[in-house]
Each structure stands twice: as C-alpha cells, then as structure tokens.
Point group: C2
Chain length 176, copies 2
DNA sequence: CACTACATGTAAGCTGTTACATGATTGG
DNA sequence: CCAATCATGTAACAGCTTACATGTAGTG
C-alpha cells in the first residue's frame, strides 16, 4: 500500500506524469522507497479509477499529468495521521553490511570498500541534488529528505571507515 | 533473493531453527531486512532441498536446527563479493517522514511526535540488545549492526526534533 | 539521420503478507 | 489446568521485478 500513498503525496505536492514520478523515485526517494515505472503506471491507473488522482493536463508525447484529488489527499492524510507506524525495512545494503561481518578479512575488505565507494557516490549525488533544490522553488518536503540523507550518510560512512580499518588490522570472524 | 542470503548468513554463523531465525529478524535485523516466519520456513526447505543448508539437530517440540553447508557458505560469499550493491530501499518510516512534510502543521506535529516516540522506543530496545550482546558471546556481526543502529538513530532523532520544532513554530507546506 | 531521453504500457513469474491451522512445553 | 511461548507449516492474495513492446521529440 505504501506505493499508493507515495504517489498520492507526490501528485498532491505538484502534478506529475508517470515518467516524472519514476524519476523522482529514482533520484530522490530511492533511499526511502523504491519503485519502478512498471509498477507506477498501473497504480496511477488504479488511483485514477478510484477517483484519488485525476488527469490535469496532457503534454507532448502522449504524456498525462496526474494530481491528487481532494479525496486522494484525504486518504493520504488519514493514513499518515491514523495508522501506527510499522517497521518493515528492506534494505539490501544494510543486510550486506551485516553479512559482510561474517566473511574472512580479505573478502570483507573487498566488499566494504565497494560499499564505501557506492555510498560516497550516493553522497555526491545527494549534494548535487541539494544544490539544484536550493536554486529552484522545490517543495520543502524534498529539502527535508535531502537534509535527512545528508545527516545520516556521513554516519554510515564513518561506520564503514571504522569497519575497514578493523578489517585491515586483520581481525576475527572468518566464515571459511 | 536477499532472504536466502540472510538465512545462509545466519545459519552459517550459528545453527538455528526457523523459529529462532524469525526472532532474530524481528529483534535485531528488523532495520536491515524484515521477514516473517511464513516466508522463512518455506525458504529453509528450499535451501535444504538445494543442499545449501542442512539439518544439524532436532530438539524439543519437533524443532529442527539448520546450518549452512560448505556449498551454502560459498553461495553467500559469491553473492557478497561478486554482486554489485543495489539501492532498492523500502522503508515505510522514511517514506512517512517525507510525506509528513506535506501535511499542515497540526497534523504534521501529530505524526512527527508519534514517529519520534516509535524511534525512541526502538533506540531503547537496541540499547537493551547491546547490553545482552555484550554480556554473552555473540558473533561480532550482531555487535557491528547494533553499533550502526546506535550511531544512525540519534541522527534521525535529531532530524525529527528539528522538524518538530519547525512545525511548532507554525511553518509552511499545508496539504489541505 | 542516428542517438538519446522522453513517455507509456503489459505479462509472466517471483517475493512477501495475512490469515488460517495445528500441536508441544513451560510456568504460574 | 490455563495461558503464554515455543514451534512449524500452508494457502490465497497482494506487491514487485524483469523482460518485452511501442512510439515521440529533441540534439548533434
């Protein structure tokens, strides 16, 4: 169900095409919720059938802009305000970090270094996004999430650096 | 596929029953990867059919302990060392934090405060777990993950406190 | 004119959730 | 002896991935 609320929120903030929504997931929401276009288009159709979003404009290349309706915004609000939060994270990176601790130091170093490179690439991407966001008039929801990412990632990076230092000094926990 | 690697890792670290694995997911792995028993039992059966785990003991109440075989550990190692990390996070809490920014300040406060309470409960739980882990001989993989959580959560907490302070001062971004 | 980015969709198969179902052991 | 916890499973359904499929508009 989370996907539909994500779509309701985004289209409530500003009318978007399915394609644009897919890009938003890909660029800014990827560390909160992942979704691909093949999931987004059918869900938009369903939401539209249920009157929770509506087409508010058609552009070039047969594109359609969707916006959340009053009913849609209401459904979103109810979900946020009335549903107890649940903790059902699925984050392959975190899982990998956990499992990596089980490898022998040589393999562990390989994996940790690659994870670090990935994280740093992601951090740069976020910094770029933050600059873009600052220069344009972007809803503050995005700025907040970018801020959260910019606070959390350096901490994860610190953990990785420590783990790498420890693996380099050749410590315990061999799997093989 | 992540579930099977998680199970291979856990059973490689120490033989476990399906029930124990379900508890581990529930208590320590929940902020990396979530899985329920109805998914764990069939997957263990499949892994066992494929020779990647094996039954290493039977206990009370028809319980069976599984351990990763050499082949299973090899499959896990290959996945960790040879697969490029992907970023397909699904974290409802993060999504909610994002969407909450779209609500009017009154609702936003309600939701943020509840998220804060949840996070703080989770932090306490982690602290308890950290103590348990320190007193017993637990594999350091768990200690590492707890450490990561203990580093990351206070940062998220800080973000939440800032967001709450901002909402209290009655700032922008009303959805309705 | 070719390439890239824009733009939307479908279908088969796999993964994950919710609900149902059953039974054993321990502690109060 | 009753409730809670331990312990394992299945089935229907919902959600997600991968691959296929098609076409448009802008840029060099």
């Amino acid at each position: 169900m989370s996907l539909r609320y994500a779509l309701l929120g985004l289209t409530a903030a500003f009318p978007s095409t399915g394609y644009e929504l897919a890009r938003i997931f890909d660029r800014s929401l990827d560390y909160a919720w992942h979704a691909s276009h093949s999931q987004i288009y059918p869900e938009l159709k369903r939401l539209s059938d249920e009157g929770l979003v509506e087409v508010v404009g058609e552009g070039a290349r047969n594109s359609k802009s969707f916006a959340a309706t009053a009913a849609g915004r209401q459904v979103l609000r109810e979900w946020l305000v009335e549903t107890e939060p649940v903790r059902k994270v699925r984050d392959e990176s975190s899982l990998r970090l956990f499992l990596t601790s089980l490898l022998e130091p040589a393999d562990r170093l390989t994996v940790l270094r690659r994870e670090l490179a990935h994280l740093e690439a992601h951090m740069e991407e976020l910094d770029r996004l933050a600059k873009e966001t600052a220069s344009r008039a972007t809803p503050s929801a995005f700025a907040s999430m970018i801020d959260l990412g910019q606070r959390v990632m350096p901490v994860t990076r610190g953990w990785l650096l420590d783990a790498i230092a420890q693996a380099e000094s050749g410590l315990p926990d061999a799997l093989t």
